[in-house]
């Protein structure tokens, strides 16, 4: 056994670590949309496309972790 060996459910651990970044990322995206809509409400409709787009792209990274947790279990 190495010094920092981890045993047990590595998939769950990996997914938990993988979800940190996208969690922050989704928060940043929505924060930017809320701030932009608050400063200039007329831009809300135009920004909504990029909100949805950005959210889906960032969320995909978290879901890779979930899929790999199952695929490699």
């Amino acid at each position: 056994m190495g010094l920092a060996a981890v045993s047990g459910q590595l998939g769950a651990l990996g997914y938990g670590l993988a979800a940190i970044g996208p969690g922050i990322g989704v928060g940043i995206i929505f924060a930017a949309y809320i701030q932009a809509s608050a400063r200039q409400p007329e831009s809300a409709g135009a920004n909504r496309t990029w909100l949805i787009f950005g959210f889906a792209v960032v969320e995909a990274l978290a879901l890779f972790g979930l899929v790999l947790a199952f695929a490699l279990s």
């Binding site: 496309t49 949805i52 787009f53 959210f55 889906a56 792209v57 969320e59 995909a60 879901l63 890779f64 979930l66 899929v67 199952f70 279990s73």
Partner: protein, 270 residues
């Protein structure tokens, strides 16, 4: 039994905890069950054929005799097509994008209908939770944007402007070109497919967890756990509503990303 920590589960809860095995379906033709062809006739493939039939029949019937002032069915079909044509094809690709509007609408409708099966009773799983179907859709988008780029610019010029972007000092090419190659030509089809697959897989798994977990909690000997199972079923209902948003979001994002890649491929370089 597997769910032993909540007491002695009844026969209803034998599927808990759910896992990858819950996504396997048996062939509908019993004699083919153990062969390779058996998987071609399962509930999943039936759903794919049903989705194709629904889309073809819907658009054919609503456009059988189009009128200038549309009736409700024609209005619905036109709204769906107009939404993708204006919002995705024209907005993202530009004026040239109008010739891709039919394909993008078909893509959006196919993914939306196959995803909707995830929340309809008796089906309750989306075919996109098997990696094969999103993989093929991703490969089609991948081949499409590379083909369009090569047809418009010529193979040498297309790869040169994509991998060795103009306007950058040449030592940076050692850093940027591998990154551009991997991000444009290797990971794009993979992320397209895995995004759709993972969303549908995770959604189905979560619905399974809450539903089967509620049933497992109902079968426990502890009365408190039995009473708390109502929250599990409540969460299953909440997650079903959440699934509706995810379904249409994933269809829209897939179509929009395909349009974005096409736009990147046929963009005119200055």
């Amino acid at each position: 039994m597997k769910g032993g920590s909540v007491g002695q589960p009844t026969f209803l809860a034998e599927g808990f905890p759910p896992g990858v095995k819950d996504f396997d379906f048996q062939s509908w033709i019993p004699s083919l069950r153990d062969s390779d062809w058996g998987l071609a006739f399962t509930k999943i493939t039936f759903m794919v054929w049903l989705a194709v039939a629904i889309i073809i029949v819907f658009f054919l019937v609503t456009y059988r005799s189009p009128k200038l002032v549309p009736d409700r069915k024609q209005w619905l079909a036109e709204s769906i097509y107009g939404f993708i044509r204006e919002g995705v094809a024209k907005d993202v690709i530009g004026h040239e994008g109008l010739r891709f509007a039919p394909y993008l609408t078909t893509l959006f409708c196919f993914i939306a209908v196959t995803n909707i099966f995830a929340i309809i009773p008796l089906f309750q799983i989306s075919p996109n939770s098997h990696i094969a179907f999103p993989a093929i859709l991703g490969i089609i988008s991948y081949v499409m944007f590379i083909y369009l780029g090569i047809k418009k610019h010529g193979a040498a010029k297309y790869f040169r402007t994509n991998l060795f972007m103009p306007g950058i000092p040449w030592p940076l090419y050692f850093l940027i070109t591998p990154i551009e190659f991997i991000s444009t030509f290797l990971t794009r089809p993979v992320t397209l497919a895995v995004r759709l697959f993972a969303n549908m897989f995770a959604g189905h798994l979560m619905l399974l967890v809450f539903t089967l977990g509620g049933v497992a909690m109902l079968g426990s000997a502890n009365v408190l756990v039995m009473g708390l199972s109502v929250f599990s079923f409540l969460m299953a209902i909440v997650m079903t509503f959440f699934e509706v948003m995810v379904i249409f979001l994933q269809a829209y994002v897939f179509a929009m990303l395909t349009a974005s890649y096409i736009q990147g491929a046929i963009a005119d370089e200055h």
